[in-house]
């Protein structure tokens, strides 16, 4: 019913999609799988008219189509349910369902009674029992997702794309959402389903397409693929493949004989983390492994105080750190290099110097005046030490390569003299050479006694860069690879095993 052929899309020379073929049949629930950056979102955006493909064709009902705007795709009958509900929380359920297509009275006014009645019928027919006159925002996220589905049904959508609809739902809400999805499929609607909770795929989906690095690497029946096979496709490894050696710039192991400088105990974050324990010693690199959505980023954010924790404690150097307070964590000596350096860290239009100086401004200023000379000296030191390649400290960060931008950020955090450095995907999106330098730098920092927590989606990086690897699954620690056990094969097995355990798991 909906097909793409040879769809290619690139952004500034980076290929997000390379000749992807995809087809969705009527009444089918089709899983779209891949790690971050594999091209799922881009493919969805191409299908829904947010992006236009550079090459390739999209066919809908056998006819070639080209959507210029999301509204075009919607009119054609393709609706999208996003991770974040894209409805209006301050309006009632019924209003949300009928926005733009309200039933009218003879006078041309909105027929509120008819609207509410039809909305109630509609949600009722999907097996949802809610008061349609309630403001959407007062309802749970799961219900809001279902209202979004109901809206998709009411506009006679033939294709519904669900982009991680379950990521913030409770187990029970997920079950209801799936019931609704199945009802839709039974009516002949084709559904595309994206989720990082792998077990959900087998519960719901008929077929699966796996993307990796912008290419389609597998397409077939969901039932015929087991977990290990799926993960192997996603990560691009043969299941049996043994660890290669020396693929990264990481050196030997570090000393780990001291008391842990960072301990986290029983970290809980609503819907995300269910009691995570960590301990890192000075000079140790602790790897955090796990598939996307397993709670890796959430764990370091919780430690850093940037994510509200329900319970659990964090100690740095034996002293408790006040939860949910970034300033407190910073003072205690915790630094976080976040995953998205563009959105959460770097200020592209400021110079290298000013970007680095941001972190030390509070320390280096007296009565509002900044000690410029001291900052210059400090920046100088770090530019040399981290080998940041910039024309001068005054150069704008925007003009640097990805790797050097990353080093500027690392320098900024090092200025705060952290005891614990949390690195979330520090080498993502930077070129090979710079990657090696960043890896070497991490190594060096650990050697100097810094405790490092390293998150990476690249297995080599975890296996060779970390002294120990803690594997997360569904917001809890599911395993640990000690130094002598950490090989690519063992990590792959741990990731897959973690996924396999989910079968009879807690959901």
């Amino acid at each position: 019913m909906l097909e793409t052929e040879g769809v290619t899309k690139s952004f500034g020379g980076v290929h997000a999609l390379r000749g992807v073929d995809f087809s969705l049949a009527q009444g089918e629930i089709h899983a779209l799988v891949g790690e971050n950056g594999a091209g799922k979102s881009t493919l969805i955006k191409v299908l829904t008219g947010v992006y236009r493909p550079d090459e390739g064709t999209i066919r809908f009902d056998g006819r070639e189509v080209s959507f210029h705007r999301p509204a075009d795709a919607q009119r054609a009958g393709i609706s999208t349910i996003y991770q974040e509900v894209n409805l209006v929380p301050l309006l009632s359920v019924a209003r949300n369902i009928f926005l733009g297509r309200e039933p009218r009275t003879r006078l041309g006014l909105v027929d509120v009674a008819a609207m509410n009645r039809r909305a109630a019928e509609l949600v009722g027919s999907l097996g949802i029992d809610i008061d349609v006159t309630a403001d959407l925002g007062t309802l749970g996220l799961g219900i809001q997702q279902m209202v979004a589905l109901a809206r998709a049904v009411s506009v006679d959508s033939r294709v519904v794309i669900m982009d991680e609809p379950t990521s913030s739902l409770e187990a029970k809400e997920v079950a209801t959402l799936f019931d609704v999805a199945r009802t839709l499929a039974a009516r002949g609607v084709g559904l595309v389903f994206v989720s990082h909770r792998l077990d959900e795929l087998w519960q719901l989906c008929d077929r699966v397409t796996v993307l990796r690095d912008g290419r389609r690497v597998h397409s077939g029946s969901m039932a015929e693929l087991d977990r290990l096979g799926l993960i192997a496709h996603m990560l691009g490894r043969e299941v049996a493949e043994v660890a290669r050696e020396g693929a990264t710039e990481f050196g030997d192991t570090h000393r780990r004989d001291q008391e842990p400088v960072l301990t986290a105990h029983g970290l809980q974050v609503r819907n995300r983390l269910h009691g995570v324990d960590l301990a890192v010693r000075p000079g140790e690199v602790l790897g955090l492994g796990g598939l996307l959505g397993s709670g890796r980023s959430e764990t370091v954010k919780a430690v850093y105080g940037a994510l509200p924790v329900r319970s659990g404690s964090v100690h740095v150097g034996g002293r408790p750190v006040r939860p949910n307070s970034v300033p407190h964590a910073l003072r205690a000596g915790v630094a976080l290099l976040s995953e998205d350096r563009k959105a959460e860290g770097i200020i592209a239009d400021l110079s290298v110097r000013d970007n680095i100086a941001l972190a030390v401004l509070p320390r280096f200023s007296r009565g509002g005046l900044v000690a410029e000379k001291r900052i210059d000296a400090l920046v100088e030191t770090f530019v040399r030490r981290l080998r940041i390649k910039a024309a001068s400290p005054q150069q704008k960060v925007r003009e640097l390569s990805g790797g050097n931008q990353q080093k500027v950020l690392i320098a900024r955090w090092l200025c705060t003299e952290p005891k614990v450095f949390l690195l979330d995907e520090p080498t993502r999106g930077i070129d090979v050479g710079a990657k090696a330098e960043v890896q070497a730098l991490i190594d060096e920092l650990a050697e100097q006694g810094l405790a490092v927590v390293l998150i990476s989606s690249e297995m080599d990086e975890l296996v060779e860069g970390a002294d120990r690897v803690v594997v997360l699954r569904d917001g809890a620690v599911s395993g640990e690879l000690s130094e002598d056990r950490k090989t690519s094969a063992a990590l792959l097995a741990a990731l897959a095993g973690a996924a396999a355990e989910e079968e009879g798991g807690d959901e």
Partner: protein, 333 residues
């Protein structure tokens, strides 16, 4: 969070919890409660307050601002702001007074046309150009004030509505002892309420203010809706000035300074979220009345400096906005 799933509820009224419903009611009708209290106290405290003459006077005085507030309500609900209304209000008055010398129709259509055009241009720049409403309408404020000074010799010329002109009747006449402006406001707000709550245009305004991205993804006419809101706001501001000119029989050039802020205050007092997406048209009327009643009460206390009006209004505004914020969090629980 999943209560609505677990237990079937009657489909009648809101399914939100009782507390949330109360919070919502307070948010929407809070100004009405305060207004009722102030009126009650004032009636028992000052003999002259509760007289029919005084009440009618309050209504009449409030009606000029109320017209402007109606347009502002839609703009704020769509997530925008219109700072130009004070200047446009004054410009409308001057144009009307000047136009009255050339015929009643000129006095009516000229201000509506010019002020509507200013609103239209602002709307187009905001919607199409994607520029912040604050800046665009600030430019509009300066533009309209400048235009006004240009056509009135820097404010030195005050155009008079000729004696005997039918235009004077518009604001000076009355029906059943109540001035026409009060009737006009009543009709305008009833119409405004219908538009907001019973037309797709109104839903779209609320949707844009509530979640503009979502409105866009749903294929709603976001741009057109915004343009219409600013055009209407300009026209209504001009109409308010026109009424004022008719009432005072002249185009007073010094009017409308700071009026935009008073109008915004009234709208917010009336329960419209300054961030957009929720509110009622009636609330804005209540907000305007509240400000007017406070002014009236302070006049009743002869010994009190009239500047206390601004102090008290400011305080009440601060309290109401704080309450709104708090009530919004209660509702989300």
């Amino acid at each position: 969070m999943t209560t609505a799933l677990e237990s079937p509820r009657p489909r009648g009224r809101s399914g939100a919890s009782g507390r949330a419903r109360l919070a919502r009611l307070a948010q929407r009708q809070g100004a009405l409660v305060i207004l009722a209290l102030v009126v009650l106290v004032a009636t028992f405290t000052f003999d002259s307050f509760g007289t029919a003459g005084n009440l009618e006077n309050i209504a009449l005085q409030a009606s000029f601002l109320a017209v402007v507030a109606l347009g502002m309500t839609f703009v704020i609900m769509s997530g925008g702001i219109d700072l130009s209304v004070g200047s446009v209000f004054a410009l409308g008055g001057v144009l009307a007074a000047w136009g009255a010398g050339h015929g009643t129709w000129v006095a009516l259509l000229l201000p509506l046309g010019v002020c509507g055009l200013i609103g239209l241009v602002q709307g187009l720049v905001i919607a199409r150009g994607g520029l912040p409403p604050f800046i665009v309408t600030l430019a509009g404020l300066l533009f309209a004030r400048g235009l006004l000074l240009l056509i009135s010799d820097e404010g030195a010329t005050t155009y008079k509505v000729p004696p005997g002109s039918a235009f004077r009747e518009l604001a000076q006449g009355s029906f059943l002892g109540i001035g026409y402006p009060v009737w006009i406001v009543a009709v305008a707000f009833a119409a405004g309420g219908l538009v907001l709550h019973r037309t797709s245009y109104g839903s779209t305004v609320l949707a844009i203010g509530g979640q503009e991205d979502a409105a866009d993804l749903m294929g709603l006419a976001v741009l057109r809706t915004k343009v219409i809101a600013y055009t209407a706001s300009g026209m209504l501001a001009g109409f308010g000035g026109l009424l004022m000119a008719s009432y005072t029989s002249s185009g007073v050039t010094i009017l409308g300074v700071g009026t935009e802020l008073e109008v915004i205050a009234a709208v917010v007092l009336g329960g419209t979220l300054l961030t957009g997406g929720a509110g009622t048209v009636l609330g804005s009327l209540v907000g305007v009345l509240l400000l007017q009643v406070i002014r009236n009460v302070i006049n009743q206390i002869g010994s009190l400096d009239s500047n206390w009006q601004a102090v008290i209004s400011g305080t009440i505004l601060l309290v109401v906005v704080t309450l709104q914020r708090w009530l919004a969090t209660v509702q989300r629980e």
